[in-house]
Amino acid sequence: MPRRSHSVPYSVRSFYAASDVEHGGKALIEVAGRGRSSFAAYAHGGLFRAVQQMRSGSATEVLRQIYASGLRGCGGSHLPLARKWQAAIPYAPRYLVVNGLEGEPDTFKDYFLLRDYPQVVLEGIAISCRVLGVHEVYLVINAAYRDCLAALEAVWQQHAGEFADIKLHLLTGPEVDLYVVGEETALLNYIEGKRGEPRLKPPFPHQCGLWGQPTIVNNVETLSWIPILLTDATRFAGQHPKLVTLLGEVAAPGIYEVTLGQPLHDILQQAQPEELSFVEIGGISGGLVPAARLDVAYADEALRPLGVQVGAGTLRVFGHGCDPVAEVVRALQFFQAESCGRCTPCRVGTQELARFAQALQDGDVSAEDQHWAHRVAAAMQHSSTCGLGRAAPVPLLSYLHHFAEPQDD
């Protein structure tokens, strides 16, 4: 019986309130190239195929297949999963921590999986445990996703046979200060009941993680792709699928399954943008890119010159009535409040950039101020402890680059 912890719903960010999805009338829509997602196709073909298949094969063989698929971390890191695991296995991992906090605002891909495909999520976890030789798992989901808990538990019990040697702890995340707890070491602190702030790395979790034991931390989506890649090799044949949360001023907001490297325009068109002025790529820590520059492939290599990344796969569309500066102000206010305050560059830098962004919106900045803002941003990116402080300047930098400063080309 998995352990379960309850707390009151996360007031700021309940799924429907935070997105435009509710107003579209359809909750989450599944649109894949083939009319339905890989997850729907997998479920249609019979659940637990992958686990059963694994029974007959060896862990090494599964790891080899994961390696061959090129599956990458879908929580934002984009590091090859097999490499992460290979580095961790010699340490004899004790715990698997599955990160379903999804603290990135306007991001609901993990919710989609937890709500609609709990079997696939748990199957991915079970297979991971076998490959890693782990017998204890912590699945931590966003407190606003508590409606998924019952189904996750029911599936776990129904298929107790498949999970016999695995102990599952099913937890909900914090109600507030959610964002930074999504960082893997902050999540470990949270599970241990400590203050949810990142730890110094090294040591990395695979060396010294939960309760000082070797631990592997993976995102929900990452592990959910494992049953797919084991049963449908074509989906990973020379390509990498990804769930994106596409919302904003579009007629059909929702979760879309895309292929990395696909033209960004095609991805956006699926959601039928009413009018397109600019797009926020990669969530709140991503950047703003004007419509004129969207003629790129949706992949990190192609997005990098624009100063943005795929990240957790969030795309927010803005029409002509929207002011990009207002989004920059919003983002920096968010970071200023969410910074855990541990390190100087991020704690003070987020406040200073929030002030600068506000001045920018008020039309009250000199060239000298702007130069200073760049120095602040550089110091934050070079010296912050975790990804929050390093990413916080990105919305501002992308705005200055694309909207405010003269372009070279």
Binding site: P345, R347, V376
Partner: protein, 203 residues
């Protein structure tokens, strides 16, 4: 022994040595603030960041171990620029340069920082200082969150950090108690290491 380079010199170090220890051994001065010898290393101030060839990010010398073939620069432009900005951050958070510790003032002089070009809006109410004791006077609005007091109070573990971002502040005991209600022994270690006067003695 590990072979590596620091500021152009080829040197050797035992595995596990930090870049800060190595630098000190070779009379290279890297500024530090949060680091207290012999205490838990928290690397929160980031003033000691150094550049390692091939890495975009700077790394804190006080907690980064040497590695074979590492090429370390302790005073590159990038390091200096970052330290200058961080020092301005510290001054802005504290409110002034002249009331910071002599050590920080010397560092400011060395880096050519004379003031912070911005001020942070005041976040603290007088209420936040009500948890002092007869012996310790609190002035949280002066705090630069270097964590020195937290690691100095190693035995009693009285001091903690609470809150987020700008609203961060120190609390005492496990449940935000007043100092006399915690196991504070009034040993004064925290006051002795505080570079900002946020923790001071009465009188």
């Amino acid at each position: 022994m590990i072979n590596l380079q620091i500021n152009g010199r080829c040197v050797q170090a035992k595995p596990g040595t930090t870049i800060l220890q190595l630098a000190r051994k070779h009379d290279i001065v890297i500024p530090t603030l949060c680091h207290l010898p012999g205490r838990e290393v928290r690397s929160v101030c980031r003033l000691c960041v150094v550049e390692i060839t091939g890495q975009e990010r700077l790394l804190p010398a006080c907690s980064t171990a040497v590695a074979a073939g590492m090429v370390v620069h302790t005073h590159s432009q990038k390091c200096i620029h970052t330290r200058q900005v961080l020092l301005e951050f510290i001054i802005a958070e504290h409110g002034a340069l002249h009331t910071l510790s002599p050590e920080l003032r010397a560092l400011a002089a060395e880096l050519g920082v004379t003031q912070a070009r911005f001020a942070l809006p005041p976040q603290h109410t007088p209420d936040c200082n009500r948890h002092g004791s007869d012996y310790i006077r609190l002035r949280q609005e002066k705090c630069i969150h270097c964590d020195r007091c937290i690691v100095a109070c190693r035995d009693q573990q009285v001091i903690h950090r609470a809150g987020r971002g700008a609203a961060i502040q120190l609390t005492f005991g496990n449940h935000n108690a007043a100092l006399p209600e915690t196991n504070c022994t009034s040993c004064g270690d925290c006051v002795a290491v505080c570079p900002s006067g946020a923790l001071g003695e009465h009188g």
